[in-house]
Symmetry: C2
Subunit: 393 residues, 2 copies
């Protein structure tokens, strides 16, 4: 349903995780709270972070390195976000790394969990000391960083270029709630052996985030820790800028779609496709308003084709619109057509049937200009409340 754009060459989904020389795993006792990525040789690293003004300590720690630096170690914990911990939070990370006796080169930390608690350094050091750095399980790493996630999130692709050369790119991620544009609440670690320069990776991340992580919403909240990291060890001699950008987009899109489908109890993913808005910006405002509307989300949960809530949410978003021009459809079932309510019992049944699916489109044609944007949201039901009413305990 979510179309894949063409690429120079071929891209195949493959088994396994990461690339030669990039290792990942979790604590040997199997507790899902601490994982790592270790690379034999330091990798080029590029990242994008949350726009939350209270950036967590691991993000500030990362930003203390010079842009374009290389790293060989990422330590990733769940249960504690190390956010709202001020300068002490950054000192805690440095202190932690000083107690590890691996050969560390510009180590990075990445955290998710409860905000407002100091890191339990001794516990983390004791766990990390026992890492098997030769482990190669991206899935284990993904499990280690789950918080309210219902399932681990991974993907892996091989890109075969027209010249016969190939590179790999894959990701592990966590993210289920607090998922809102800019970025979703999430950690995502992307590894590649492509021979990609730092600037290209950084630019491709920035270019792709708009239609992937920034287009999904679970609950309209944006966390303090959102991070997308790309590690490139350049073991392959294959590289093509356009193919790499597109493969990275595909990986980011896969992870974003897995997150929104896992939206803390969500059962449905809706693509809110706003077309013919005044411009792309207004289409984005309307589409994101729809994906964030509690009334829309609860109606999706109830499988209720209440198109009045769709229209009302568009109107409330303050974009240019006119009910004499508006067309609303659930997949191909038109429920409102330029001022004509075409919602008889037959149409209502057809629209209700669309909402019984796991995935569908809600298309809003504003009939004003040529702007378009698609945002992805999910339903919201009892489970979301259950998960979030007492997250800390």
């Amino acid at each position: 349903m979510f179309t894949i754009l063409p690429i120079k060459g071929y891209i195949d989904q493959i088994d396994g995780f990461f690339c030669d020389g990039i290792h990942a795993g979790l604590k040997p006792n199997g507790n899902n709270d601490l994982g790592f990525i270790y690379t034999k040789e330091p990798c080029t690293v590029a990242a994008i972070f949350t726009n939350n003004k209270f950036q967590a300590a691991p993000l500030k720690h990362f930003l203390q390195y010079e842009e374009g630096f290389k790293t060989n170690f990422v330590l990733i914990n769940s249960k504690n976000a190390n956010a709202l911990t001020g300068k002490k939070g950054i000192e805690d990370i440095k202190n932690l790394f000083s107690k590890l006796d691996f050969d560390l080169h510009n180590p990075i930390m990445s955290s998710t969990g409860v905000i407002g608690n100091r890191l339990p350094i001794e516990k983390l050091v004791n766990g990390a000391k026992k890492f098997d750095l030769s482990a190669k399980s991206g899935e284990n790493l993904s499990k280690a960083i789950m918080t309210t996630d219902a399932y681990p999130k991974t993907c892996m692709y091989e890109v075969k270029l027209e010249n016969g050369k190939s590179f790999k790119i894959g990701a592990v991620a966590k993210g289920a709630g607090m998922i809102n544009p800019n970025l979703a609440t999430m950690l995502c670690f992307i590894c590649t052996d492509a021979d990609a320069p730092y600037e290209d990776i950084k630019n491709a991340l920035e270019q792709n985030k708009h239609t992937t992580f920034n287009a999904i919403s679970v609950d309209g909240d944006t966390s303090t820790n959102d991070t997308v990291l790309v590690l490139a060890n350049k073991k392959s001699d294959a590289y093509d800028k356009d193919a790499f950008t597109e493969a990275l987009r595909l990986v980011m899109n896969d992870m974003a779609m897995l997150m929104v489908a896992d939206g803390e109890g969500a059962k449905k993913v809706a693509a809110f496709e706003v077309i013919n808005a005044k411009d792309d910006k207004e289409a984005e405002i309307a589409a994101k308003a729809l994906s964030n509307s509690l009334l829309v989300k609860t109606a999706l949960f109830g499988e209720d084709p209440n198109f009045g809530r769709i229209a009302s949410t568009i109107g409330a978003s303050q974009v240019l619109c006119d009910d004499e021009k508006l067309v609303i459809s659930y997949n191909d079932v038109i429920v409102f057509n330029k001022g004509e309510i075409c919602f008889d019992s037959e149409v209502e049944k057809k629209a209700g049937d669309v909402l019984k699916n796991d995935k569908y489109k809600i298309i809003c044609d504003l009939g004003i200009g040529s702007g378009k944007f698609t945002a992805y949201g999910c339903d919201l039901g009892y489970k979301y409340v259950e998960i979030n009413a007492d997250y800390r305990s």
Copy 2:
């Protein structure tokens, strides 16, 4: 807890509804779907409406009259919003009024309910024809316009001026969900016998909406039908501009607080008091972000003093803030103090106890400037989902 400002003279809560010569009631069969306000002599009427771009037909019908017009009849229905019905929706209203044989002077309609259905004119005419126009029950009117409201909402005050003269002012309202700043999703009918000029009423409405109806949020959605009407029959010769403005604010505040406390299953009302922000505008942005955050609302439902979500929501709202300056308290219990987490088990218990109350303050001192704003929100639990998953049926 929500302080009342001083007034020139005295203001007393009194029994009864409305003023001499202003009548209200509902269908004689007692069905809660159709009510009216009837005044013996035409009243001055002023109104403020939703900023939703898809204003419902009754709002457009109102706006066809010349500003400052007088009316003697307001017909109010629930179950059908007459929204998204285009020009036909306005014609339906005119057609309906033409079939009533009362002595009508610039009649007004006000509707709430499902969006996207034509008005059932014959049913409404049959109901309205049986009105007892001498009825005087504001409470019955309030019941007639309830949709997802758990209780009717009314208030009545008598204002005694320093010169010994007095006037009355009271209101009936509906509103429980789709309550979001600009305006809350609501209908509110305020009647007064004060000798207030149209311009003063209109200005007082505009002035007071910011801290009352625009400061409350249940679910972040803004409806197509939000209306606040003031009817003034000027039977009293009492008037003082400041006292009237303040009495109107009090009435609007009462109705707003009843609405947010009735937030579709809500059990708690939180006053999100943001102080020492860069300016009042930024305080408002942060306070409204808090009152709209699903994560904050579900934590309130769980009585969980998860102050990390408070901080994260402030940071996500993009206002100027700094964790080394931020102080967060639940009533008088400080849980975060300028970079110091003071959240030991004793503080956690005290903060948790605050959240067991029905009403409390969450105070966020940003420590940046002198801007302040208080927004009012409620918790969100299973009941909200139940009410909204299939509202139409």
